[in-house]
């Protein structure tokens, strides 16, 4: 919403400075977005009197002028043909920024003659393209006076943001009312609304035809006919204001409708009466498929949920949104018919949205227009039409009835204090409400406020608290420190939240970078990761590559790895802790810690060569997160059934029985190819919510540590087993041989090839024996060794390698 200061002062009697007004606007909730003061840009330009203009001694086309600036006489070399003795022009001293050229004016010597300033053309002033000569100002323009003031450009333009609830401030008068309530001046009386005496009976009548119960689409419409008009340009003052707020003047009739829209928040429309048929205009629902050529030059097809304005020949307006081109007023219009209507905000909004028309009328109707303006709007418009176009006005044609809008809302005397935090006398509260147009009375310790017709947004006590507070100013609310119920802060994170945090810290601690990627992704890529059910396809995706909710975090991380490789960074570790979806229910949203490593384990280095990343990097990452999140790490089993986007032979699942906690492995080369990512890539997905909750019993106490006083003994064994026997079952077998004594079994070598036979492999394990009660004898060790060999033989078919 834009207006100028002088426009505001049409409605507001005030001598408050601009800053005070703009501060008050923002404090009222009418946030000032911009103040543009054209006078400031033009401050250096003043009225100059050309005392003498004589030909330049060394140049035919130049003149040497002596300019009286009001404070001194200055020599200026000027090339304009109209520079002459005795004229008044626009003078700019050296150092001035010239808006039309974008240059700073410098002192200079032009062909031997000093020039200390400039007489400006309209183009140089940035006012128009006119550059035939310098601007000539009227003879009575006071020398030295600011140029902006002379041409009426000294009117600051104020732009404010209007929240959707404040339709009443979409006109300058509403803004003035708020300011007056806040103590910035006095609201002037609304004289423009007084009835205009009719000189004839309207030749066109309004009708409303709605199905029973749907009359609210247009509760009331008022109009009148004008005749004997001359639809020339609108007056200068109106044009200047419209231009200042960015509207192009068109003709008096059109400009008047725009002016009233912005001045009073009352959208109007005028039809060329000569182009209407049948002496009546009807408000009705459109028939599906009816079309209209609108004022924006485009044709629109209406549906039966849209209100339209029609005569016998067809549709001439989309109610509350835009008028029709065919019946619009032109320079030839001598007779017109005025539309001052009320429309259902919701229907108007829906119509505008469907047709994709943004208009000043729609903007106001969907935020609701003062119902009473249906009547006074017809008078305001009539007065302006008669003033600007001459002619005469008919009586009013009215269809429908003014809806009842007044409501009584109660405000308890202490409510501004108990809800708003400000202790205010009832009298002051009432004063504010009255200034905003409410009528108030007191009843049983409460203010009973009756809402004005232009405030449909005020419905509850809390609304009145807001009105009182915002006029009083939120600065007046004393800040009260928030007290905590307990002396010390309590634990506020859930187990799940802490685990997400643990996962982040562990993975970042392992050298990976945390990424945050879109929750959505491309459908074809999602198909590579198990696909997405129909319910997770966005109806209105923002782009073709963000169409479905991601079933896994890996594809977005893979794409990111690809982008980084394209930028020259092929080796990296990325992870993300975030959602992935199985369905559209809250339970179908998993919080997944996913990550991947690509390329090499590190940069090339003089001391040790990096290696390609592999499944065991991903396995280590996943196990580290599981351990940090409290999974029983010793019980986690590894199975070979990771889903299809992993390398079938180099991937696995980490599980507790049937409960899969994580997948890890190298990413399937086919997936990498489809996504255009160079391998190798090893990734993991950890389902944090599937990690068992720690037992509540026992609290934070840990089991007592009983370090053995006896030295552990290490023994190595190499077994030959069938190639497909998992290393883990061999370790388990070895450990099972003497559980109380064997504290650790770790695989330190795997070999297949010459010497172990076809289809076989050799697995070497280091076994640690930890006695608790005595030092082991050779005999003891021999006994355990034999048990280990027997257990491995029995459980895996492995034999001690000879």
């Amino acid at each position: 919403m834009k207006f100028t200061l002088s426009w505001l002062k049409d409605h507001l009697e005030t001598d408050a400075p601009l800053d005070a007004i703009t501060d008050a606007l923002t404090a009222l909730g009418l946030e000032v977005e911009e103040v543009h003061d054209p006078a400031k840009d033009l401050a250096a330009f003043t009225v100059g009197y050309v005392v003498e203009a004589k030909p330049h001694p060394n140049a035919d086309k130049l003149r040497v002028c002596i300019v009286d600036t009001g404070s001194e006489e200055i020599q200026v070399v000027c090339g304009a043909p109209n520079a002459r003795t005795g004229m008044k022009g626009v003078f700019a001293p050296a150092g001035t920024h010239i808006p039309g050229t974008g240059m700073d004016l410098k002192k200079g010597v032009i062909r031997g003659q000093e020039s200390n300033g400039m007489l400006c053309s309209e183009r140089e002033m940035g006012l128009s393209d006119e550059h035939q000569g310098i601007i000539e100002l009227p003879e009575d323009a006071p020398v030295g006076a600011p140029f902006a003031k002379i041409i009426g450009l000294d009117d600051p333009v104020i732009e404010i943001a209007i929240t959707p609830n404040r339709g009443d401030c979409l006109g300058v008068r509403g803004v003035a009312r708020d300011l007056a309530a806040a103590g910035i001046g006095t609201l002037k009386p609304f004289t423009a609304a007084e009835p205009v005496a009719p000189s004839f009976e309207s030749t066109i009548q309004w009708r409303r035809e709605f199905p029973k119960g749907a009359e609210g689409a247009c509760p009331m419409v008022v109009g009148r006919t004008f005749r004997g008009l001359v639809n020339g340009p609108s007056p200068d003052w109106m044009q200047r204001r419209l231009l200042a707020i960015g509207l192009r003047p068109i003709s008096a009739l059109v400009d008047i409708t725009n002016y009233v829209t912005f001045d009073l928040g009352r959208p109007l429309h005028v039809f060329d009466a000569a182009k209407l048929e049948g002496g009546a205009l009807t408000m009705r629902f459109a028939h599906a498929g009816e079309t209209i050529l609108a004022l924006d030059g485009k044709e629109y097809t209406l549906d039966d949920g849209m209100t339209c304005i029609a005569d016998g020949a067809g549709v001439h307006g989309i109610a509350g949104v835009m008028g029709g081109e065919v019946t619009g007023c032109t320079a030839d219009t001598t007779e017109c018919f005025l539309e001052v209507a009320l429309f259902d905000p919701i229907r108007t909004a829906a119509t505008g949205r469907k047709l994709r028309i943004e208009s000043d009328a729609r903007y106001r109707f969907e935020r609701s227009v003062d119902p009473e303006s249906a009547l006074w709007g017809a008078e305001v418009a009539a007065r302006l039409v008669l003033d600007c176009c001459g002619g005469e006005a008919s009586d009013l044609s009215i269809a429908g009835e003014m809806p009842e809008t007044a409501r009584e809302v109660k405000l308890r005397a202490d409510r501004v204090k108990t809800l708003g935090g400000v202790d205010m006398p009832v009298k002051e509260q009432r004063g504010i409400l009255e200034a905003l147009g409410f009528t108030t009375r007191e009843s049983k310790g409460a203010i009973v406020a009756t809402t004005p017709s232009w405030r449909p947004d005020v419905t509850l006590e809390a609304c009145l608290v807001e009105e009182v507070l915002r006029v009083k100013g939120f600065d007046a609310i004393p800040a009260v420190p928030l007290q905590r119920d307990s002396a010390l802060p309590e634990r506020i994170l859930t187990l799940g939240q802490r685990r997400e945090s643990f996962a982040r810290k562990v993975l970042a601690g392992r050298g990976m970078l945390e990424a945050v990627t879109w929750s959505f992704m491309a459908e074809d890529q999602a198909a590579l990761f198990g696909g997405v059910p129909a319910e997770l396809h966005l109806e209105n995706p923002i782009s073709a590559d963000l169409t479905v909710m991601r079933p896994s975090t890996l594809p977005n991380l893979l794409a990111a790895a690809g982008r980084n490789a394209d930028r020259g960074y092929p080796d990296l570790g990325l992870f993300e802790v975030g959602p992935a979806w199985r369905d559209d229910t809250p339970e179908g949203e998993d919080i997944v810690a996913a990550g991947l490593r690509t390329g090499n384990s590190g940069p090339r280095h003089w001391a040790e060569a990096p290696r390609a990343v592999d499944a065991f990097d991903a396995k280590a990452d996943a196990l580290a997160v599981l351990a940090a999140c409290g999974a029983p790490a010793g019980n986690v089993q590894v199975s070979r059934d990771a889903p299809g986007w992993y390398h079938p032979g180099r991937s696995g699942a980490l599980r507790l029985g049937p409960n899969v906690l994580a997948w890890f492995g190298e990413i399937h080369p086919r997936i990498l190819r489809a996504m255009g990512v160079k391998g190798p890539v090893a990734g993991f997905e950890i389902f944090l919510h599937r990690i068992p909750k720690p037992r509540a019993k026992g609290g934070k106490t840990r089991a007592l540590l009983r370090p053995s006083p006896f030295q552990p003994v290490g023994r190595d064994f190499a077994f030959v087993v069938d190639a497909e026997v998992p290393a883990e079952s061999l370790s388990r077998a070895a450990r099972s041989a003497e559980k109380g004594l064997i504290s650790e079994v770790s695989v330190f070598d795997v070999y297949a090839g010459e010497g172990v036979g076809e289809g076989k492999k050799s697995v070497a394990v280091a076994v640690v024996l930890q006695p608790q009660d005595r030092t082991l004898t050779d005999e003891d060790i021999e006994k355990v060794s034999a048990a280990i060999i027997a257990a491995v033989q029995k459980q895996t078919g492995g034999t001690l390698r000879g």
Binding site: R166, T418, G421, E461, I477, Q497, E589
Partner: protein, 364 residues
């Protein structure tokens, strides 16, 4: 006794001039070994005149000890010099780079969130959550935005397909539906869940993309419901938050009336900043920067959650996490948050050393 002196000089000179441990060993054997010269002298003491035997014995023993000590000393000297020359030979170029260990980083969104939780945690808020895919009731209707409310247009909503019953799920346009879930959880079960004090961080979605908007971003929501909390508390709470978060104890703060369907009265909070010189600086200055929206919970919202608005009241606020992260850490471009550019993550990311707390300091 002259023969002993001569032998001593000869032996000590030989020891001194020995240039290896092997040569010393040979000397030791030839002098002190079983058939060594000194050993021979000791053995020959029996033939010496008994009167001189004692004195000679002492002299020979002294010689033996002197030779032995000289050999040990020389041995140590040789070992020292051998070590020194080995160390000299095995020196390395210590200016070579150390073995690389990749350094991980946390995303600025995680860090910011941790900081926010640290501050509100001290104020007695707990952290609540809700799903990203919401139903219309939680995202709109319960928040006092009925189906045809013009305010629905304030949100560029992502929709999921219509279900057989005509309803459509949406990607939550704000974290406010978590307010509703938190209040429902209380009102449905034990009424003594009030007072309620939560923050709800999370992903939010709007169908909008340009220089300053991304289709996904993060918000944190705050909500207090009890019998007495009023706008003064709202101001107190948020002023403290802003000053703690930006770690600027005197940053100017301004509350401005605004409009949200789910609060009444509604306000926006601006902080002081300085834009002169083309660079945005938080703190003193003559400009203002909007950072969050807030207000007293609308009675219709309380009622929609089964909480009696005649008895209970409270405030709510919501802010964009990326926005306040950008302001605090000087990150210029919102879109870069979601690009996973390694250079950006390393530069703007945070070392995962500790969880921010107010008493240790927020941003490392």
């Amino acid at each position: 006794m002259d023969d002993l002196n001569a032998l001593r000089d000869e032996l000590l000179a030989a020891i001194e001039s020995a240039d290896s441990t092997a040569a010393l060993e040979t000397l030791r054997v030839s002098a002190l070994g079983r058939k060594g010269t000194v050993t021979g002298l000791l053995k020959g003491l029996g033939q010496v005149d008994p009167e001189q035997r004692r004195a000679r014995g002492q002299a020979v023993n002294a010689l033996k000890e002197a030779a032995s000590a000289a050999i040990d000393a020389k041995m140590a000297a040789l070992a020292d010099s051998a070590l020194e020359s080995r160390l000299a030979a095995e020196s390395v170029d210590v200016t070579l780079p150390a073995r690389p260990l990749p350094e991980g980083r946390l995303h600025p969104i995680s860090q910011t969130l941790d900081e926010i939780v640290a501050i509100f945690g001290e104020m007695g808020y707990s952290v609540a959550e809700g799903p990203d895919i919401e139903d219309d009731f939680h995202n709109f209707t319960a928040l006092n935005i009925p189906p045809e409310h013009p305010a629905r247009q304030m949100f560029d909503t992502f929709y999921l397909p219509e279900r057989p019953d005509g309803s459509r799920m949406v990607l939550r346009t704000h974290t406010s539906p978590v307010q509703i879930r938190a209040m429902q959880a209380i009102s449905g079960g034990k009424a003594n869940g009030l007072p309620l004090r939560i923050i709800a961080p999370g992903r939010t979605y709007r169908c909008d993309s340009d220089m300053t908007h991304t289709p996904m971003f993060h918000q944190v929501e705050g909500l207090i419901v009890d019998r007495t909390t009023h706008m003064g508390h709202l101001k107190g709470c948020l002023i403290e938050f802003v000053r703690a978060y930006f770690e600027l104890p005197d940053v100017p703060v301004r509350f401005r009336p605004s409009y949200f369907p789910f609060t009444e009265p509604s306000a926006e909070l601006d902080i002081g900043c300085d834009r002169s010189g083309g660079e945005l600086k938080i703190g003193a200055g003559d400009d203002w920067l909007e950072i969050l929206g807030c207000g007293m919970v609308h009675p219709n919202v309380l009622a929609a959650c089964g909480i009696d608005p005649a008895e209970y009241q409270g405030f709510a606020f919501g802010m964009g996490i990326e926005r306040i992260a950008m302001l605090k850490y000087g990150i210029p471009d919102l879109r870069t948050f979601f690009d996973a550019d390694l250079r950006w993550l390393k530069h703007y990311g945070f070392v995962p050393l500790e969880v921010p707390t107010l008493f240790r300091g927020l941003t490392p």
